[in-house]
Subunit: 469 residues, 2 copies
């Protein structure tokens, strides 16, 4: 937190209040400080001069025009559940919070689509479409409080991706307020369409740097069957990695395939006061589900169970009890809160080719030893997207520094294994330097050219993803 | 064809010959005329001053630098199977043909990906990966001769899309030579990744207007089971449309769902000298497949058969004989060649919400009556992507004019039904004015801003998709 007082432009605030109403423009630092940061402890932040809560597209346009006229940057923000600092405020900016734009405008069951505002909470959308027998797949860990707008901005993933893809695979079209305040409508309501550049997918994952999304048309899928679940415990992470490779190689597509290392299992068992059935000495637990239903699910999971045993699993069992499946998933989702038993956590997000998962886990153990901190690994084994999570003492600047070193070493390891520095959390304000390493000079130049073309004054989320110079 | 002689720049040709070798630079108009056009009769074309055949990325870079230095535009081209004029030459341009870059560089079965050059023929890739038990889904009608580069540039679809999506859903990363000759590498080899803007999907479907794709990393799927097939014949197209809507609504996802109207069935039966079993008086034939295998396929197709009968089908039957399924598909794919029995054809490519298919077919019949030409409708009912095809006498300028009118009226109808002017064939040089109508002024301006940012001198495929001014 800075001790310098944040510059405030009274004419800007006056115009924002005139457009949105005084109750939609917050300036009290005790309140606005709550909007400085998302959930990533390492990213820089600043004090916003105002936090605004527009209720509709027209109000967003007015905020954009006002901020553009005053040369004040805008940081778009949903629920603040992000893990990259993409929604962190910059000093003196206006934070534009979309949570009041939370209407589900339409569910067209016959064409399997929904039209929503960005502030809709992921879980609320899932529940609403489920009533129509439909399914919105993207399910980031924070799905019970994150917003669709944040999911769109980071191109969020989740546990579903191995079978159903990431957020951009479920987006048909967007409304976006551009830097000049004009409203751009991208995409369409049809399943297919190639009229023009794919602007929809350019804006998805652009981390609020190109415009403010005010509406999205989302593709829905048929609601799958209640899943059956297979759990397998391995004595070595290498064996677990072999099992993942073989499952992929055999052409089995589970609806979920999660991995937890021994430390993750231990933390969750302590936190939830339950046993996950991995047994003593297990180095890794693999949780797989199939939502194909009936005989197809039984066949898929029997094949997975056999592959696990063939790859050296100490035990493997399958259940078609949905309650048991839910408990196992709840355990997997409890890894991060469970780590708070030990201290603060810092979660990474590398994605590697699926054949390299075991090497990544082994490398993380080595990095943990080197920095003297616990690194817990869990992740989406089915697509190689792993979340090595570093535990540190939040009151120790030395431990924080070592955590940062481990964080960077994990990114370097991910790149060395042919992976990427972020599978689903985004670059934000914490991995900008790493993005340059991944993209190279031509890629960075291309990014800057697009940003400058669409946002010539760097109005939107400046300094997120990459710096303009 | 123009009667003015095409301007030729000798220094340009000399430098191209020095870089590529004389046998890779064709200038004889008798030969280069064969590279003026793709398969769309209505799009404008021009005479290229040279047609070049680079063998690798470095040679593409040299062509780009040379043309940029001489201010001569480049029109990238694959096999020329396109249906939008996107690959049509402009007067005095250099046509860059990618067919000599036809190596499959890598098949990584464990990570389910392939790395290919753009000139690889779609069918060759399908065959090569099938040997590894893998599947490359995109299957445009021209799959036995179109190239992956053309598929990427138009974001091609095919019969597979209802279950497996379009080309962009199978692309992980690209190598692209930019307007300054630099090589941009987009994307990654991992399944997921959100590091930076989704440049991969920006270039896919950009119709060669932003750069030349010289390599692609493609995601593969497990090879599905041999499909079983259901055919249903309907007395009215409205009933067929109802069946499609109900199939979608019931959450059934066939691996293929094609529709042919009576005129399409008649043409194919005459052409192939066989009966498709629709019976006399059938107004529409629906062909559905499931590749889920065994019991799952039987369950899906039994449900589809029942929905068809409930929706008023006169007959419906299911076969799990792969040979019979292949024959039916071959019949569906034979619609366009079959139409040559009647004259020249001009195929449209509108995509409408799946609930509006029957209205589209009825509207096409009305348009056919109005212009006095036969309009045959077939298409990908599962995703609403329809190909109304106009038959005309190629020697009659009056019929060509009426065909053009019908072509435009179908586009207007598609937009009026909430659809798009192109589901999979691209805008090219034939639907530029329609793109403006679909995008609106803000969308068009955004397209121009991106094009100008990446290709400031309008080097690549000028006048395709949209005009810069």
């Amino acid at each position: 937190m800075t001790t310098v007082s944040t510059p405030v432009s009274q004419p800007l605030l006056d115009r924002l209040r005139a457009a949105l109403g005084a109750d939609s423009v917050l300036v009290d630092p005790d309140v606005t400080d709550g909007y400085r940061r998302d959930m990533m402890p390492l990213a820089p932040d600043g004090a916003p001069q105002a936090v605004v809560f527009p209720r509709n597209t027209e109000e967003v346009q007015e905020v954009v025009r006002t901020c553009a006229a005053h040369g004040v940057p805008i940081v778009p923000r949903g629920a603040g559940s992000g893990l990259s600092g993409a929604a962190n405020a910059t000093e003196g900016c206006v934070v534009l919070v979309t949570t009041r734009m939370n209407a589900i405008l339409e569910i067209d069951a016959d064409n399997r689509l929904a039209v929503v505002e960005p502030g809709v909470v992921n879980l609320d959308l899932r529940g609403a479409v489920e009533k129509h027998g439909l399914f919105y797949p993207p399910d980031p860990s924070s799905y019970d409080w994150c917003t669709i707008g944040g999911n769109l901005s980071t191109n969020a993933g989740g546990l579903c991706c191995v079978k159903y893809g990431v957020t951009s695979d479920s987006v048909l079209g967007l409304h976006v307020v551009l830097a000049d305040g004009e409203l751009l409508k991208t995409g369409r309501r049809t399943v297919k369409g190639v009229a023009g550049y794919d602007l929809t997918k350019l804006f998805v994952g652009s981390e609020g740097t190109l415009g403010v999304i005010t509406q999205a048309t989302l593709a829905l899928r048929p609601l799958p069957q209640a899943p059956a679940t297979t759990v397998a415990a391995f004595g070595t992470t290498a064996d677990a990695g072999t099992a993942v490779t073989r499952i992929v190689r055999e052409g089995i597509v589970p609806s979920l395939m999660e991995i937890m290392d021994a430390a993750a299992v231990e933390a969750v068992e302590t936190y939830l006061k339950t046993e996950l059935g991995a047994g003593r000495g297990a180095a890794a637990l693999l949780i797989c589900q199939s939502d194909s239903g009936g005989e197809a699910a039984r066949r898929e999971l029997a094949a997975i169970e056999q592959v696990c045993l063939d790859s050296g699993a100490d035990l493997a069992y399958t259940t078609d009890d949905p309650a048991e499946g839910r408990l196992l998933l709840a355990a997997r989702r409890a890894v991060l809160p469970a780590l708070e038993l030990y201290g603060a956590w810092l979660t990474d997000d590398v994605c590697v080719p699926r054949t390299r998962i075991a090497e990544l886990i082994a490398g993380c153990a080595r990095i943990g030893d080197e920095v003297g901190l616990r690194i817990v690994v869990c992740g989406h084994a089915g697509d190689g997207n792993m979340h090595p999570t570093i535990v540190y003492d939040r009151d120790s600047t030395d431990e924080l520094a070592r955590a940062r070193r481990a964080f960077d070493d994990v990114l370097g390891l991910g790149l060395a294994l042919g992976g990427t520095i972020t599978g689903e959390h985004a670059v934000g304000k914490v991995k900008r330097e790493w993005l340059v390493r991944e993209l190279g000079p031509v890629g960075l130049r291309t990014h800057r050219a697009i940003k400058t073309a669409l946002d010539p004054t760097n109005l939107f989320n400046p300094g997120s993803m990459f710096a303009l110079e």
